[in-house]
């Protein structure tokens, strides 16, 4: 991996009328990286991709690729290639001709083109489909042709615009693995746009989470999941339980005590050094809770409280619980580590103990507009703010 700023967006903005689709975005991407832009629809991720491809001109800012300012270049002069959401294969050309298109435009020698196309057909395992027209191919096959057609140009960056959105679940998972393999094999920088956190998490070296035209957070998948920097990120990536509270005490150097209306006081890790008296959001992921019939061993870093099981959803690998603690309904997920025979499962309407370690929750300062929506939810739902609910599609 060479420099970390192989591809750079510098203060890029794009307005459509009064709408700021992309709002002063700065971003740098390393060579060979698998980088994802993740966000709900309308967050500006596709606009950013189209600015890089050359289909949109930014109102402000520069785009630098491999040390060269490409902001004002037309699409056909940029060494980036796109895989479109609808694949956009040429219906009047065969698979082979589709893949060869980019090299034919360059007026390369026929022999050279043939060798390259054969290599690409082999890479995407479409050798036996080469003479078919796109309209009789399946979704996954079209996808492969689109990949081959883009990669044959040896782009400096490959842009993927929700490439798996049109495929069914099974196929999506298989193409996900294939994309990963292809990325490893060709070593080209991938810029992947998606609204699906699962896709982004499983493929990416780094993810930029976008919302309302700005980048909320950039980090590795683990950083974004375990240490979200905004309530939007916390809610968009994975499920979480949100609480609105206030810091009352600083405990030691790194912990704070919070009061929450309609909920017991809570001890929380405070790496952001939020001082006493400030309002905060507390976020706890469903899998961080421990649920049991017997009281857990006491420890000064654990929050322990009683709750009433209101709902149990058995899902094989996991069981989901809805547990009421005072005015909140918590979403809790437990993985099965023991055989059901050994243990009498926790049932509906049982009194249980729940606990979690103070390090497993995090506090977020309230700052973004979308936070208002989180607070205004009725108490019934506050424990259940997950990705889907917070992101209108």
């Amino acid at each position: 991996m060479a420099s970390t700023n192989y591809l750079e967006f510098e203060n890029v903005s794009k307005h459509f009328g009064s709408i700021r689709a992309v709002d002063r975005v700065s971003l740098s991407i390393a060579k060979g990286e698998f980088f994802s832009l993740l966000g709900p629809s309308g967050c500006g991720k596709t606009t950013l991709l189209r600015i890089l491809a050359g289909f949109e001109n930014p109102n402000t800012g520069r785009v630098i690729l491999n040390g060269r300012d490409i902001t004002d270049l037309p699409p056909h002069q940029r060494r980036v290639n796109t895989i479109f959401q609808s694949y956009a294969l040429f219906p009047h050309l065969t698979v082979r001709e589709n893949i060869a298109f980019g090299l034919r435009i360059e007026k390369r020698l026929k022999k050279e083109i043939d060798t390259e196309v054969d290599r690409m057909l082999a890479l995407v395992q479409m050798e036996d489909q080469a003479h078919k027209y796109p309209d009789i191919l399946s979704g996954g096959q079209k996808q492969r042709v689109a990949i081959a057609r883009a990669l044959i140009k040896k782009p400096e960056v490959l842009l993927l615009d929700e490439p798996l959105a049109a495929l069914d679940l099974k196929l999506r998972q298989r193409m996900l693995m294939e994309l990963d393999l292809i990325h490893d094999e060709v070593g080209i920088t991938f810029l992947y746009v998606t609204h699906d956190q699962g896709e982004a998490m499983s493929l990416s070296d780094h993810i930029a989470v976008m919302n309302l035209g700005i980048i909320e957070q950039i980090g590795t998948p683990a950083e974004i999941y375990e240490a979200p920097r905004s309530s939007f990120v916390a809610a968009f990536i994975g499920d979480t339980n949100f609480f609105e509270g206030k810091v009352t005490d600083i405990v030691g150097h790194e912990y704070s005590r919070l009061t929450i209306d309609g909920f017991p006081d809570v001890l929380c890790f405070n790496d952001k050094h939020i001082s006493a008296g400030n309002p905060v959001f507390l976020s706890i992921r469903p899998e961080k809770f421990h649920i049991s019939r017997d009281a857990p061993p006491n420890s000064n870093k654990r929050n322990i409280m009683r709750g009433l099981v209101e709902d149990v959803i058995y899902q094989g690998l996991l069981t989901k619980f809805w547990v009421r603690v005072q005015e909140y309904r918590l979403s809790i997920v437990q993985q099965h580590s023991r055989f059901l025979l050994d243990e009498k499962p926790i049932r509906w309407n049982e009194e249980v103990w729940i606990s979690w370690h103070a390090d497993d929750s995090f506090m977020l300062e309230r700052y973004s507009e979308s936070d208002e929506q989180l607070v205004s939810l009725p108490p019934e739902n506050i424990g259940d703010v997950n990705g889907e609910a917070a992101t209108p599609e």
Binding site: F55, H76, V80, A88, G102, K153
Partner: protein
Amino acid sequence: MKRSRAPLVVTIAVLIFFYLPILILVINSFNASRFSSTWGGWTLAWYARLWHEGEIWHAMQNSLIIAVSASAVSVVIGTLAAFALHRFDTRLQKTQYLLIYTPLVIPELLMGLSLLLFFVAIGMNLGLLTIFFAHVTFCISYVAMVVLGRLQDFDFSIIEAAQDLGANWWTAAVRVLLPLLAPGIIAGGLLAFTLSIDDFVITFFVAGPGSTTLPIRIYSMIKFGAPPLINALSTILLVVTFLAVWISQHLTEEKR
């Protein structure tokens, strides 16, 4: 369950309704008798006589010149108009659409009359040129509507894909847009051609001396009473039209 015979009966009835008159016309063109009510045996005499009717061939020539030139010009203008209607989004868009659409629904009588008045007002001599202009005015609308229909189904992301793969706008248009729109453009052109070659009402208004087209010629022949000749002429036209349709279908199938 016993299948109903009704669909079959209705189908046959409709086919008879459509094609029986044409069939009678074709048979009559080989009828040796001057009157279609009596059968005088098979003959090719009418075709032979047609061959020597100089005026008919002159009218045919006029019709072809006008149909070919009017459809060629309206294909270009109509296609461009369809693009303008589809690609640009201005406040005048609805008005422009209406302006292009109107000639399709306006009574031909009105069109012919207004065109005649216009040509007279600007002092233009009636002749082939006025017929050509008149035909272009209504053919544009048909071509534009047919091409617009194709454009509305057109996935423009493939143009972006072509540009993305290194084609400039012009190359993308020639390599991708035109081949894919060609069936629509050809269909529009053929429609314009057929409308132009058999147009009577408008042509009747704007034709001048020496610019008689085939439909007008046929009309005056009926008045002078030469039905068997017309039958022969119509049969030839029928065969030519059939061949044209068959060829164009064959061509578009090959493309697929």
